[in-house]
Symmetry: C2
């Protein structure tokens, strides 16, 4: 049988994913309203915004105001995303975010070239500089991630051997700078993964790097998000990125309207129903998901916010018995 | 590791589920257009309509015209749904449907009472009469099904022991009338199942009734549809009901807009990507799913119809390599 973890950590990325993707404009106060609602659900990490140039991502033009405006809730880590030193400095200047560094690799060279105009080896060199930058700013580095770890629209299926090689390279980069990677996050950036490929990749990485804690950043563009998370749970993965109500989208999909990140409340429903602790109150999270839908003003893909939790049915059944 | 089946049978229920659920009215010609599109995808069974009183289900008022109007495609079984002898006679009178009988049990007595005004034991008695009715009409009976097999909004979680007991009762009913049940279909009518409860129920049933072929009728009301199908595949289930584009809905959901049956093309995507044969051309099925969305005139929940298949990306990657 599967060796499920007893509890999982779910990193909420909805505010960043969603407000980056939505055509908007969405009032800053409403973004803050959603973050504050999420803060009360039991989530332990919320990514609140992205510090990127407004000309590239108009929806993040108010990132500083958002990051300064929400109410900090005890026990919640609030984080931001950045892509360069300027962004990092903005995140640090906020003074109320939990700023941590990540070594970021990409498994597809073609995707890397298109996205960041670097070869795989140029990116490794860039990561050395980035770790140095983190050290100069006293930003801890304990995490690495890999984009396009399962497949790429430009390069096709990604061999597991390449993933293993890149994991080793990330650990080597860390070692060269005296930092230790504790967790490794694999992103199915273009939604190529199936439960089978999740099991294969996670199983192989766990076998070769048994001390690494593994995480998954899953997309639901082809409807596999929750099934892939389940396969991850079966293999002992206990960190998941997710997006409330399925906020966000996929710029790589064949047609508009495609789903983005796996939906937080659907994932919480599955874990809690299977006895895996999330620390999250599903009914409060469903309320936040309905709020997210109200904030963006159109239907969002998550299912449980419409289907509802099972709590009231169980209570009614127990009362009738 | 999992013991996946080499191939699976997917029974398409979209036309019946969808046109029963949609507020409509949808022109008969457009219903037929969708059935004809589905016929060319490689699906081997399509449920085209439901023979129920028009006053109960206005969307099925044209069931006879639909059943007479589509073009039969070689190798495809076309079936209908009925709930009583009058409906069965209508299905038989069409003369071009594959009419087969099912012994239908329900795992929740409360649900059964609300739905059909029968106790569990009254329903067993009713099934004896129904099998006799099938025999009088020379309708073969090789299949049994169980509604609410995983949980019920009125009764809560369903114990596996009750499911086992009811499976035995269905086999006893069959034996009493000299017919043999070859396949047993478990329906998650109110979307209570998780991958874990799928594994538990299927595993227990397989152990006790190793000669039965098992099927799953899954709902996606809480986003678990594909993950539950995956868990079924892991346990060797090789028959699935599904609905193109996720046509249909759930009358038992907490909020309107909830998804219904698991989506056919998302299921086909998962199976084919994992090397499990469906016999279905995914790209043709995606076209049919987009047609379904056009026919009903609003977005439908399936993901792959927006995300797209991976074929063209693989072809492009292979050409570039």
């Amino acid at each position: 049988m599967a060796e499920f973890p007893r509890e999982v950590t779910i990193n909420e990325e909805g505010p960043r994913e969603g407000f980056q993707f939505e055509k908007g404009p969405i009032p800053t106060a409403r973004k803050i309203e959603l973050i504050d609602a999420l803060s009360k659900t039991g989530l332990k990490q919320i990514q609140v915004c992205s510090f990127v140039p407004p000309k590239n991502v108009p929806g993040m033009a108010d990132a500083d105001e958002v990051a300064r405006g929400f109410t900090k809730h005890p026990g919640v880590r609030y984080i931001g995303l950045w892509l360069n030193e300027k962004g990092l400095q903005r995140a640090l200047a906020i003074g109320r975010l939990d700023v941590r560094g990540t070594i970021s690799l990409t498994a597809s060279e073609t995707f890397l070239k298109r996205n960041q105009n670097r070869t795989l080896q140029e990116n490794v060199a860039a990561q050395h500089s980035i770790v140095e930058m983190f050290k100069q700013h006293n930003v801890p580095v304990e995490r690495a991630s890999m984009m396009a770890a399962f497949g790429c629209n430009f390069e096709g299926d990604i061999p597991v051997a390449r993933v293993l090689d890149l994991v080793q390279q990330a650990l080597d980069i860390a070692e060269a700078h005296g930092v230790t990677i504790k967790a490794f996050n694999f992103a199915d950036t273009m939604a190529w993964a199936t439960p089978d490929s999740i099991r294969r990749l996670v199983g192989t990485v766990r076998e070769k790097f048994p001390r690494l804690r593994l995480g998954l950043h899953l997309h639901d563009t082809r409807g596999m998000g929750i099934a892939n998370a389940y396969a991850g749970l079966e293999m002992g993965v206990d960190i998941f990125d997710a997006s409330v109500a399925g906020l966000g989208g996929c710029p790589f999909a064949a047609h508009k309207g495609a789903a983005g990140n796996v939906c937080t409340e659907d994932l919480v429903f599955m874990c809690e129903e299977m006895g895996i602790k999330t620390g999250i109150d599903l009914d409060l999270l469903i309320e936040a998901a309905r709020l997210a839908e109200d904030v963006v003003g159109h239907p969002l893909p998550g299912a449980v916010k419409s289907g509802g939790s099972l709590r009231k049915y169980r209570e009614r059944a127990a009362a009738a018995a």
